[in-house]
């Protein structure tokens, strides 16, 4: 879970940064989307890089989710009986909601691909015009809401997930613990704010 999570996190950082190009206008953003498909040329053909990335990310997502299901299944069996008295939780909200947040994000990814890659659920859904598609999206309030809820779930998921991966991969120790928690907080906030800036900008009319 840690390895696949870190790979997906790297993608998210690049994806978030790329999305910010929307603030430079339709020509820049659509040009950027076109360029994405030319990565690796002439060694790779048009769109090949994108397909390689899709295969890698899909592999990571499937492995991540399958491990999560196996782990949850095992953990439920390891604690068959509950305590009668209420336990005062010491873990953070983010830690306790990893499973629910993960489900929200997984559903979001399906929606998101049908929306901005396939175009099937996009109000406009015109291939080659991602700028116009994004703007059309967030002019509908409930589509904006889907994105906002998913990004908040993502924020919590990264906050616990990044530090947890450092534990699992054995990279953490007593001296580095504060550093890893700080990086996790910064990553979660930067990624969330960066992603959220796009729907918020469209909804407030800054990008149109």
């Amino acid at each position: 879970m840690a390895t696949t999570g870190v790979i997906m996190l790297l993608f998210l950082i690049v994806h978030m940064a790329g999305n910010l190009k929307i603030f430079f206008g339709p020509t820049d953003f659509n040009g950027y989307a076109h360029w994405l498909r030319t990565i690796g040329e002439p060694a790779l053909h048009y769109s090949w890089y994108l397909w390689i990335q899709r295969v890698v990310l899909l592999g990571c997502l499937v492995a991540h989710v399958v491990s999560a299901i196996q782990l949850t299944h095992r953990d439920i069996h390891a604690r068959p009986q509950r305590y009668r008295s209420k336990r005062p939780w010491r873990a953070t909200f983010a830690t306790n909601t990893m499973r629910y947040g993960g489900v929200i994000i997984a559903l979001f990814v399906v929606w998101h691909i049908l929306d901005l890659t396939v175009g099937a659920v996009n109000p406009r859904g015109e291939a080659g015009h991602p700028y116009q598609n994004v703007v059309a999206d967030f002019q509908v309030w409930w589509i904006g809401l889907i994105y906002v809820v998913a990004m908040l779930a993502l924020c919590l998921h990264i906050y616990h997930g990044f530090w947890s991966a450092a534990q699992t991969l054995g990279a953490n120790n007593a001296a580095r613990n504060v550093a890893f928690k700080t990086i996790a907080t910064i990553l979660a906030l930067v990624i969330t704010v960066g992603f959220l800036s796009v729907p918020v900008a469209v909804m407030t009319g800054l990008v149109s």
């Binding site: 604690r79 305590y83 009668r84 008295s85 699992t168």
Partner: protein, 248 residues
């Protein structure tokens, strides 16, 4: 002070258990939690009822026998063992819930007593060193760097009480197992079994039915000996190292 206790009563491993309410009167703040239970048990015996079964031995916080969940917290509200928990941390009129450790790998034997032999199996799988027989070696024969000695001692304080498993929402034994592995793996005496120790102990831990770690941190917060969460990261590092070496 006068207290109301709600205690898990279960006559044997196969029986259905339930919470039963008892009153104890005239509890002094200087009593330990176990002494308070002794008072209740004397009372129950006089009334011809079955006393509450609970594990205990040293009563000084070093043997790790006295596991019980008090008001939802392993070993109760203070960071110590139940035998070292004093009644002054409670107030007159309090209602106190007492339950056994809950984990699939720790089945209830009777009342508050659980079978913790899964821990013994983990120790048998690698919690030892190979030492030559003969006369005792010179104390200075094997130098140990100070930071390593500190790490070893910190992990060696684990008393195997099982509070980490009881507190973990996943019933995971990672904190206990990591303490036992790190204790020996950092010392020169532990080197011959460094890889087999971590591989065998983790395999045995998994086979015993303990859950997987999701880094909730509940274990370290409940541990009466303050074994840190970093011990788990260190064990994971040892595990990755051992699997790499085993692959070669």
């Amino acid at each position: 002070m006068n207290l109301t206790l709600r205690i898990w009563r279960q006559p044997n491993a196969d029986a259905e258990g339930q919470m039963v309410t008892y009153q104890v009167a005239d509890v002094s703040g200087d009593m330990s939690f176990l002494e308070m239970l002794d008072i209740l048990n004397e009372d129950l015996i006089l009334r011809g009822e079955e006393p509450v079964a609970f594990d205990h031995d040293c009563r000084e916080g070093i043997c790790g026998s006295c596991g019980m969940v008090i008001n939802g917290q392993a070993h109760g509200p203070e960071r110590t063992t139940a035998c070292q928990l004093h009644m002054r941390h409670f107030a007159d009129g309090d209602v106190i819930d007492i339950e056994p450790w809950r984990a699939g790998a720790f089945p209830v034997v009777k009342d508050l007593v659980v079978d913790r032999s899964a821990f013994d199996r983990i120790i048998q799988a690698g919690g030892y060193i190979t030492a030559p027989t003969g006369t005792a070696p010179d104390a200075h024969a094997v130098p140990v760097p100070k930071p390593d000695a500190d790490t070893a001692f910190e992990n060696a304080t684990c008393i195997g009480c099982g509070a980490c498993v009881a507190a973990c929402p996943n019933g995971s034994a990672m904190l206990f197992t990591s303490a036992k592995i790190n204790h020996l793996n950092v010392l020169p005496q532990g080197q011959p079994e460094r890889e087999s120790r971590v591989l065998n102990m983790i395999t045995t831990m998994d086979e015993a039915g303990f859950g997987g770690c999701t880094n909730t941190g509940e274990c370290a917060a409940a541990c009466p000996k303050g074994i840190p969460l970093a011990s788990i990261a260190k064990m994971n590092r040892e595990f990755l190292r051992a699997t790499r070496k085993a692959g070669r």
